[in-house]
């Protein structure tokens, strides 16, 4: 019997650029109904990304050796790196789910629940997409939707080096302080561990009955090696 199942793949550490082309290929495959709904869980190496229309001033002075990409998404500048859990749901929104804000709120709720499992009380804040612990931001959200198939997603700071955020004005909010699960009293955890909890919460929040583990190799098989055309490398 067919049931709504979310396939979940842990990809480990993936270059930002490669992750983008992978997502493009998966989105196309999802649109063509060649694959089902999928959740990618991964980590990026150090990278700064600028949204389209992002103010470059918000990237104060990047530390040497960290690439900067301009990405086809909304929002301002953000940082990704080791110790930060990245979740990219590639799912087809259907019927009443075709509501962009509803989707964002569901992602936020899933993050809040995940954090709750670790005893961290987090919340969303009105008008500020993302998840916060008090006034400190712990997770960022930025999604793309292509013919009602989602890409990009969320970044949850697990135990990343928060100093990398000092070089930017995260999300264009001046004085925005970042935090991580490690800084909120969960020093002993790792990204892969939180990934399992997040998958569980995302699956439930997005209305799936069950989760199926998918091998990373299966996921990569869908993706050609072709380079992504949607953003321009802007290494600096």
């Amino acid at each position: 019997m067919e049931q709504p199942t979310l396939s979940v793949a842990w990809l480990g550490r993936v270059d930002y650029e490669r992750a983008c082309s992978l997502q493009d290929a998966l989105v196309a495959a999802r649109q063509a109904q060649e694959i089902g709904d999928l959740l990618l869980l991964l980590e990026h190496p150090h990278v700064y990304t600028l949204g389209r229309g992002a103010n470059k001033d918000f990237l104060l002075a990047p530390p040497p050796g960290v690439p900067v990409y301009r990405v086809s998404r909304g929002g301002q500048v953000t940082y990704h790196g080791p110790g930060q859990l990245i979740a990219y749901p590639i799912i087809a929104l259907e019927g009443p789910e075709r509501d962009v804000h509803l989707y964002l709120r569901r992602l936020e709720r899933a993050i809040v629940q995940t954090l709750g499992r670790y005893g961290i009380e987090a919340a969303r804040r009105e008008k500020l997409t993302g998840v916060w612990v008090g006034a400190r931001k712990i997770a960022s959200i930025g999604v793309g939707i292509r013919r009602w198939v989602t890409l990009h997603g969320l970044a949850l700071n697990v135990n990343c080096d928060l100093r990398f955020f000092d070089w930017i004005v995260p999300c264009g909010i001046e004085g925005c302080r970042m935090t991580s699960m490690a800084s909120e009293g969960q020093a002993g955890i790792d990204v892969a561990q939180v990934a399992a909890a997040l998958a569980d919460c995302l699956g439930a929040e997005l209305g799936y009955d069950s989760l199926a583990q998918l091998d990373a190799a299966e996921v990569w098989r869908v993706s050609p090696t072709a380079n992504h055309h949607g953003f321009e490398a802007d290494r600096g």
Binding site: E2, S72, G74, G75, E94, P96, D99, V100
Partner: protein
Amino acid sequence: MSIDITMPKLSDTMEEGKILRWLKHPGDKVTHGEPLAEVETDKADMVMEAFDDGVMQEILLAEGESAPVGAPIARLAAPGEEIKPAAPPSPGALAELAPAAEQPESAPVQAAQPPRAASRPVAVRKRSLKEAEEPEASNGAAPPAEAAKPSHPEPGGDGPEPKAMPRPEPEREPAGATRDTAAMRPASVPPRTTAPAHEHGDQAKIKASPLARRAAEEAGVDLAQVQGTGPEGRITKRDIDNFLRQQQLFRQRRLVTPREGLPGTWEELSKMRRTIAQRMATSKREIPHFYVTMEIDMEEAVRLKKSLEATELFDEAITYNDIVIKACTLALGRYPRMNASFENDGIRIHPSINIGMAVAVEDGLIVPVIKECQQLTLPEIARAAHRLVAKAAQGGFTADELSGATFSISNMGMLGIEHFSAVIVPPQAAILAVSAIKERPVVRNGQVAVGTTMMLTVSCDHRIVDGVVAGRFLQEMKRFLENPASLLV
């Protein structure tokens, strides 16, 4: 004829959107389905696609600028048409958004509007939706609303605003829910039958125990709203707890109002509805159901519940639903074949009793699971059940909490249902349908008397059990419910 492209509505709560980037520019040929622009709302961006063929004539909203939903953002010239200077949108153009918002299935984005007569050239860059909604005096066109919904007559509507259809107001309570005080409620407290003792009382003047006062303060409860049950109407901590639970129930009621359909429309299935459709169809197709019903005398169970309330033996108020779950667990322990699955042409008898409780939510139902019921006491079952019901109202189940049931219970007592039978949730062997506790004529010692009874119907998979097992299982439930002291052991 030019075609207006308007800011798409990507969410019920979206008011305006920003153009991140135009992917087509004036003079570019546009084919149906081609990406036109990237639109951003909140932290999401979406590629908007063309809905018609044509040539991009004019861009009305620059990159990085925002416009309200429905405002024209670009204009497309029909194929072969000479590109003319900009023409303003007719008032109807904006109203057209309403159907776009209601029919998300029609296209990812309602990118283009049906052609209509263009009117005076005006350099419109950005205009608010409100301005644009008002038909200009010189324009004798029909009111926007009429133009808006040529194919979607609103039932009883006369001149509706060009907005998305209002959601059904979920305030109503299910009929009979409050009147039938003996009705069963899933994980709830008895309904309040009297009005609050103090309508506008001063918090300080209201009699309340210090514990209750503190609890009320912590939870932000106005004591005047709470009915005291202590001596001389004194409010106890328990009254506050009950009040809070009741509030929660009301919130939950808002959620359980089924989605109402709009006559004459077709709607795509949500994931939840699709799951229900697949599961229930599979169940009825593959499982040979049979149904067995028994009337249970609930007089003793009602008394037990009242005495538990009076003695405040447990922190958690015990509901009839909890009592039924406990009795069911005990009966399943004696008839393990009812707690089984049909698997690979064999019967798997489960080692644990995990009971799924069907809970109505908006647009469907979910069946959260109380695990290992055989190890739980009545108050423990109550705590687990209440937690799951509260969660159902707020959302946020983990996959684990929704899976692994070995037996299910569907309770429609709170709706005053006389008797019903439920569809088995595959791969379980059976499901118990619980109806309302009602006063019914009963025969005692050859005399007709007024009794308090409840109907239980169990639906069984005939591949796994036969009528005699189902019957014995119900007899066992009857024994426990009619001698409810057994439930406290």
